[in-house]
């Protein structure tokens, strides 16, 4: 990609069966090359926002990636620019990890030749530290291993916009940071826009240059972690009484004292 493209969202509305979840949501341009975190309480509409950006729920409004208006593209054309990693992977699948990654790369046109595709898939697994699981069945993985396999399926596609829905929810602390570090590296290497839904504010603050806070379908804070995360915001959005302090290295730490 020559010119890395930013994501801009204007007046995005989406919902289910007539009930609106997002009503005219707008986001100032999201820069490529770094991670952007999307946080907010349960049922705030984070998943719906990602699915609307990916074109998986009917939505109105403008979603521009650089010069491309994604909202005007149909599913397969849009999928060349965007990949969405859902919160979960089906339990019942009988595919092996390698097969699932190959299928992810092969599903749409412009696939690599067979041998190169296999090597590319294995290298992707290797970067996630699960090359040794390549021939294991997805059904026989732990929750965390499955989450890494799921991430591998998305990374192998090398999209310009990567949407990760709670990519670290099942991971231990080392793998949480491992995944965030890898996402940051890949974002920088490929000039990718990466939007990740996260629940752990400390993890989000550590790795994301910018945090977008969503509550009841609306953006209630947006900016660098130090600016976005405040005690008032935490009380209003999450209903917790919390102190926000900086550690010796200046990173945001949240200490919860009680429920507001």
């Amino acid at each position: 990609m020559s010119e890395a493209a930013a994501l801009a969202v204007q007046g995005l509305s989406a919902g289910y069966g007539g009930r609106a979840v997002l009503a005219g949501l707008s986001l100032p341009p999201v820069r490529p090359g770094t991670l952007t975190g999307l946080i907010g309480p349960n049922a705030a509409g984070k998943t719906t926002l990602l699915r609307a950006l990916a074109g998986l729920v009917p939505a109105k409004g403008s979603v521009r990636l650089g010069a491309v208006e994604l909202a005007r593209l149909d599913g397969p054309a849009r999928a060349r620019h965007v990949t969405y990693m859902p919160q979960s992977l089906p339990q019942r699948s009988g595919l092996t990890v390698l097969e699932s990654v190959l299928a992810a790369g092969r599903a749409s046109a412009a696939a690599l030749p067979e041998r190169a595709a296999r090597l590319h898939a294995l290298e992707t697994l290797e970067r996630l530290g699960i090359a040794d699981l390549a021939l294991r069945s997805l059904a026989a993985l732990s929750g965390g291993q499955r989450q890494l396999a799921s991430l591998a399926q998305c990374l192998v596609r090398a999209p310009a916009l990567l949407l990760l829905d709670e990519p670290t929810s099942a991971l231990d602390i080392r793998h949480q940071h491992g995944v965030m570090q890898l996402a940051a590296e890949v974002a920088a290497e490929r000039g990718m826009v990466v939007l990740a839904v996260l629940h752990d504010i400390a993890l989000a603050s550590r790795w994301c240059a910018r945090l977008v806070v969503l509550a009841e379908g609306a953006v209630v804070a947006d900016g660098p972690p130090e600016a976005a995360i405040t005690p008032a915001l935490l009380a209003r959005v999450y209903g917790v009484q919390a102190r926000v302090e900086r550690c010796s290295r200046g990173q945001v730490q949240v200490m919860v004292d009680g429920l507001a």
Binding site: R106, A107, R118, L119, L122
Partner: protein
């Protein structure tokens, strides 16, 4: 160390896995061929396998009775068994994937019941496509109803917001509706028509003819390449609908085209031989146990497991009760269940 040599062991293991699957598919194909010959050799005036092979290779050189038995009587029925098994099992495999439901099959989602209703209308009330010769009257009706039932599923799939669960429930509703309608027709049927209808719905290969075989073979030959072409997409669909769509698969279109193939396969199969319940459900599961869920192997393997079980069922239908030819629909489950259980248990022991 280069990247290639670094992953060489895994790449080799994967290549070996693919080879093993290809071998399993080839072995299944051989087994089908063997079952076919056995099926031809079995019957009231039994032939030696060597004799069957000789008559098949060199029809002109064979004595007249053996030639008539093999070419006019046994071969059409034996090939019909293979083709019907193949068609139903492929239809089942596609349905199980696109509906994300291991219990989906032409039988469980109403296609067979619809065909029975079509046949019932033709046999009992004489209702059907006018102007057709007698040989085609009942199958044509069965085909029309079976095809229409899948088109109804289609129409529902096209409705916005109708998920696969809805489709499956609708298919089950079709089973009950058509079964009730068949019972209604049976209730008003004459003794003789009722007997014909019951016999029809048990499934029989005795109705095979070269003309019918040709049509069924055509249906399978037309559908199979399109099924195989969709195999990567179907494999990806096993990772979940949202994910598949985000990978660039037009899931609605995939589902639509697949159901179209299913309707052609299932409707032509049940139209000619009547209700065969077990194959479409279990053929794909056997194939899955053998070669996994990579659809490049799963689909061909399903074709072959279906053909194999159906062919063995045809043999069993001739030998189970000496001197009697049982309806093959009765025997498929009797033959298929032990094979299926054997596979499941073998897999248990391997611990995978």
């Amino acid at each position: 160390m280069t990247e290639t040599s670094h992953h060489a062991a895994t790449l080799a293991a994967y290549a070996a896995l693919l080879r093993r699957r290809a071998l399993l598919v080839a072995a299944l194909a051989l087994a089908v061929a063997a079952a076919l010959v056995l099926d031809i050799a079995t019957g009231p005036s039994s032939l030696k396998v060597s004799e069957v092979l000789r008559v098949l290779m060199d029809p002109a050189g064979a004595e007249l009775p053996a030639r008539v038995i093999v070419w006019q009587v046994r071969l059409p029925a034996a090939l019909m068994a293979v083709l019907v098994g193949a068609a139903l099992s492929l239809a089942g495999a596609e349905m199980q994937t696109i509906l994300d439901n291991p219990l989906a099959s032409p039988f469980t989602l109403g296609v067979s019941s619809a065909a029975s209703f079509g046949a019932a209308l033709a046999l009992v009330l004489g209702l059907g496509v006018p102007g057709l010769p007698a040989e085609w009257f009942v199958p044509a009706n069965a085909f029309v109803f079976a095809f229409a039932s899948v088109l109804m599923l289609q129409a529902l799939a096209r409705l916005r917001g109708a998920g696969v669960e809805t489709l499956v429930l609708f298919g089950i509703a079709l089973v009950f509706t058509f079964n009730a309608l068949v019972a209604l027709v049976q209730f008003v049927a004459s003794q003789e028509a009722l007997q014909q209808l019951v016999f029809w719905s048990m499934g029989s290969l005795a109705r095979a003819s070269w003309g019918r075989l040709g049509l069924l073979a055509l249906a399978v030959a037309v559908v199979l390449p399109f099924s195989l072409r969709a195999s990567w997409k179907m494999t990806a669909l096993r990772l979940g609908e949202d994910r598949a769509r985000s990978f660039g698969i037009a899931v609605e279109r995939l589902r639509f085209l697949s159901l179209l193939r299913v309707s052609l396969l299932a409707a032509s199969a049940v139209a000619f031989v009547g209700t065969i319940g077990f194959i479409g459900l279990v053929g794909p599961h056997m194939a899955r146990l053998l070669v996994g869920e990579d659809h490049r192997f799963l689909l061909p393997a399903s074709v072959l497991t279906g053909a194999l079980v159906m062919s063995l069922a045809s043999v069993a239908s001739k030998v189970l009760v000496p001197g009697a030819l049982l309806p093959v629909g009765l025997v498929t489950a009797l033959i298929g269940v032990p094979v299926f259980l054997g596979l499941i248990l073998a897999r248990r022991e391997r611990g995978t």
